[in-house]
């Protein structure tokens, strides 16, 4: 029997959140002072939650693995953040943002959650402005907007190409203010390695001090996990090197269900892989598709000449260029959603039209907009991205088109949460990219920042009160409880086990191999046979890892290899579950493309009759098959249609 209760409030869609807010419990200021909350992660989700909870009066402890909370991976987000402000008078509305997000997610997200996200989105912009986020402005002093993929209105707010950085700094500064007041205690360079559950409720965490190696216990009345996504299971991705799925995975092992792990997003505009020494992939913001046109040569012989380096892009006349997105999707053109753009690029490259030496790249050309708008305008819009591109590739994108190729970018799947953002473990919450909640099978651009901040500023601070109101009589968590001892012991044993293998191969060796399996079989295009093969290969590789990995250094010292080893160990398990989930879902939806389920034109084909559910995986113990529970998705306000961007 699964205990899946999504707790979606009754009532009409537009009233659910306000009705819910008035129905849930509130904790008095005097009682808030007695309650402690642990927030793991200081990205947009974690930092905004930590700051807001502390402002309310709770005692907060915040954790991150970097040397400063300001360095969380959210900092790297470039393009922007959506909000239904309708400042452009282009008929945007809460409903339209809701609808775009549901449709963009290929009808695999909960209506109620998505509507709430759209509903609070305008507040986020107001909040960030008040904090001093230097959003782009018009000459009249009002906020500027740009468009992003998958939508027909202009609702994306931005701070040059550094929106994530500026939003995160806003949240970080709000948190700093609370740190100065003593309301937030910050633990940088601390990695959560387990969650501690007492009498069915989350009561604390075990963390390793990454400088001294000390394993420490931390108690609280509730635990919030905001540790980001698991895209690094693919080794090469746009995620930061340290981004990991481990905290979420430990929660899974302690009873929190994992939802839709097979939904990962492949971003169409990344700098292509070069050679075999590469450690990560760099994203070129989607906003570039506003002014860049995507193309490959029409003639195969031109593509082959490009691949051999005999000609350059500019040698190919306009009439010999195939603007394949504009050709295939005339109404959205270069602004189709990410999954569609990525698959279209792969299709052209697989057909032999790729434009770099490996045949795995397409052009993103700014020539046309430079002609139309002038170099200055393009420079003002994308200057830092162009500079970044040039530093990496040694090519000047003002003169020659960029080369781009899809890469792993975001995980829509994650820890299952109910409407209150609580997992299947009481008192354990999951916010930001770590949860599965709002993006269905595909996330629209500029919506992750929105979701992280919605969760942290405007949703969790309300919903957590409903749970904590019943905990006001619970004394401070005693970290000498047997459950803490037990958790600490198992964490130490695992570290010792990894350290003592003293095998012959580095952690990276295994991580790269795992990444290759994932990319080949659980990547942009999947089929049953490949997925079954992948599961076998992952299991074999995991066995080898636990026999033959070599972790150097000392356990009681800063040891990046030891940190990596722990994360990669979990990536095997996550990768395996992703493949199992992808195998179960024999339909194509959003970022998940099953070759068995395509239209004659090769477009993705959903199967609503069979798959209108959230896959919720339940851990059954080491070496046992996990159990699949299903949360049926009910659509009362939108009609399910085959997505079309034609």
């Amino acid at each position: 029997m699964s205990n899946l209760n999504s707790k979606i409030p009754e009532g009409p869609l537009a009233e659910k959140w306000s009705r819910h807010k008035s129905a849930i419990k509130v904790v008095s200021p005097a009682n808030k002072r007695k309650l402690e909350v642990i927030v793991v992660g200081t990205g947009l989700g974690g930092a905004s939650a930590a700051a807001s909870l502390a402002e309310l009066g709770y005692n907060v402890k915040a954790f991150c693995y970097q040397d400063s909370p300001r360095r969380a991976h959210s900092i790297a987000a470039q393009g922007g953040i959506n909000a239904a402000k309708n400042y452009q008078n282009d008929n945007d509305s809460v409903f339209r943002l809701f609808y775009d997000t549901i449709k963009g997610g290929d009808y695999r997200a909960r209506e109620a959650n998505v509507y709430r996200l759209a509903e609070v989105s305008p507040n986020i912009i107001d909040q960030c402005v008040a904090q001093g986020v230097p959003f782009g402005r018009e000459y009249g002093g009002t906020l500027a907007n740009r468009s992003f993929g998958g939508v027909l209105v202009s609702r994306t707010f931005y701070a040059r190409g550094q929106t994530g950085q500026q939003l995160l700094i806003g949240a970080y500064q709000a948190m700093n203010r609370q740190i100065a007041k003593g309301a937030v205690e910050i633990y940088s360079r601390h990695e959560m390695l387990d969650v501690v559950i007492i009498d069915g409720k989350a009561r604390g965490i075990i963390a390793r001090d990454l400088i001294t190696g000390e394993i420490k216990r931390f108690g609280a009345h509730a635990v919030v996990v905001a540790t980001g996504g698991y895209g690094n299971v693919f080794f090469l991705s746009t995620n930061a090197m340290g981004s990991n799925g481990s905290a979420a995975w430990q929660c899974y092992k302690k009873g929190a269900f994992m939802a839709n792990p097979c939904y990962v997003q492949i971003h169409p505009t990344c700098i292509p892989v070069h050679g075999d020494q590469q450690s990560k992939l760099t994203l070129m913001s989607e906003s570039l598709r506003n002014d860049g046109r995507v193309w490959v040569p029409k003639k195969k012989e031109d593509a082959e000449k490009l691949q051999r380096g005999e000609i350059k892009a500019n040698d190919i006349p306009d009439e010999d260029r195939d603007f394949y997105l504009e050709r295939r999707y005339p109404s959205y053109g270069n602004l189709v959603p990410r999954d569609v753009a990525s698959r279209a690029a792969k299709e052209r490259c697989d057909a032999g039209y790729g434009v770099n030496s490996e045949g795995k790249a397409v052009f993103l050309d700014f020539k046309y907009s430079i002609e139309r708008l002038g170099k200055d305008v393009i420079e003002a819009r994308y200057g830092n991205l162009f500079q970044m591109y040039e530093k990496i590739t040694d090519v000047d994108p003002y003169k020659e088109p960029m080369m781009i190729y899809p890469a792993i970018h975001y995980s829509m799947g994650g820890t299952w949460v109910d409407y209150n953002l609580m997992t299947t473990v009481k008192g354990l919450y999951s916010i930001g990219e770590a949860n599965f909640s709002d993006h269905g099978a595909n996330r629209l651009g500029a919506s992750a920042l929105m979701q992280g901040l919605a969760d942290g500023y405007f949703i969790l601070p309300y919903t957590i009160g409903d749970y904590l109101a019943d905990e006001i009589m619970t004394p401070k968590t005693d970290t000498s409880a047997p459950e803490f001892k037990e958790a600490e012991k198992s964490v130490k044993e695992r570290i010792e086990k990894l350290y003592n293998i003293k095998g012959s191969k580095t952690v990276d060796y295994f991580h790269k191999k795992l990444g290759q399996i994932m990319w080949d079989h659980v990547g942009m295009s999947r089929n049953a046979e490949g997925l079954k093969e992948a599961i076998k290969m992952i299991r074999k590789l995991r066995e080898d890892f636990w026999k033959d990995v070599k972790v150097p250094g000392e356990m009681d010292n800063l040891n990046p290899e030891l940190e990596k080893a722990g994360r990669v160990a979990d990536f095997f398990d996550i990768g395996e579950l992703m493949a199992m989930d992808a195998l179960d879902r024999n339909e194509s939806c959003g970022g998940h493309f099953r070759e068995e389920s395509a239209t004659d034109e090769g477009e993705a084909k959903r199967n609503d009759e069979k798959f209108t559910y959230v896959s919720c995986w339940e851990y059954q113990g080491e070496g046992k098959e996990p159990k699949l529970n299903k949360e049926e998705l009910v659509f009362e306000n939108v009609k399910l249609t085959q997505r079309s961007y034609k």
Binding site: S68, Y139, A240, K391
Partner: protein, 253 residues
């Protein structure tokens, strides 16, 4: 443009096992590095070699590897973030180095940034400076509509220029006095340029400077070394603005 292979490089690098232990330089050789690889990818390869040889790999800080998180930090051939301008170490590419070259790598050197291990230093002092006042005092909720506070295009752009600071610490490492003035000035300017931030501008400047002094950063003597090495081109004119704010703050005491 086409990538070449550097057949051999010598890497002379600072090794120090812990803060409490003494450090020294060690030299390693590394072979077959593509000029298209990043500097940190070169270190990854070196580390994998070292691990295979049973030598403790070199600890260095990094995370985003795209020049925005401010985690990477190396002092390469006598320059913070190495021999290129307007970039961080993680964006530095091996095409900037020559065949057979000896590359010297050190950690940031500053009293306020003690070494943790090898090339990793502790920059918590930066967080502490910002905690002392680098924010606008608003709580979540109850704020006016975003467009209710108009901000001129140029002011927003200037605020953004200053807000682009990534908190890497190169300015401190570049400065002979180990002053954090550029870092502090960037934050003070970012917030003081915006109407929302003006309200607390004086108090902010005063508190942050007091904290900076207390944490052991040196004073600014206007050498301009920070501006040259700052990967985000934070302008030294921010320091003049800070000085103005600060003087106003002092006189109004």
């Amino acid at each position: 443009m086409a990538d070449k292979i550097l057949k051999k490089l010598n890497i002379k690098v600072w090794r120090q096992n812990r803060a409490s232990e003494k450090g020294k330089f060690e030299t390693y050789t590394i072979e077959n590095i593509s000029t298209g690889s990043s500097f940190l990818e070169m270190l990854d390869i070196l580390n994998n070699d070292l691990i295979e040889k049973g030598i403790d790999p070199i600890a260095f800080d990094h995370d985003c590897r795209e020049g925005i998180c401010g985690t990477c930090s190396l002092y390469i051939n006598g320059r913070p973030h190495g021999p290129d301008t307007e970039i961080t170490t993680c964006q530095l590419h091996m095409r900037k180095f020559k065949e057979g070259e000896t590359i010297v790598i050190e950690p940031w050197r500053a009293k306020a940034f003690p070494v943790v291990k090898d090339l990793v230093v502790n920059r918590t002092a930066f967080d502490k400076i910002l905690q002392a006042g680098g924010f606008i005092s608003v709580n979540t909720g109850g704020v006016p509509d975003g467009n209710a506070i108009p901000v001129g295009y140029d002011d927003a752009e200037e605020a953004m220029d200053a807000a682009a600071c990534i908190g890497c610490g190169a300015c401190v490492a570049a400065c002979k006095n180990s002053s954090a003035m550029l870092f502090v000035a960037a934050k003070v300017s970012h917030l003081a340029k915006l109407p929302q931030g003006k309200v607390e501008a004086k108090r902010r400047a005063r508190n942050m400077i007091a904290k900076m002094d207390e944490l052991g950063f040196g004073g600014c003597t206007n050498t301009g070394a920070c501006e040259v090495e700052c990967p985000k081109s934070i302008s030294i004119s921010n320091i003049s603005r800070l000085n103005r704010e600060y003087l106003v703050a002092r006189f109004s005491e």
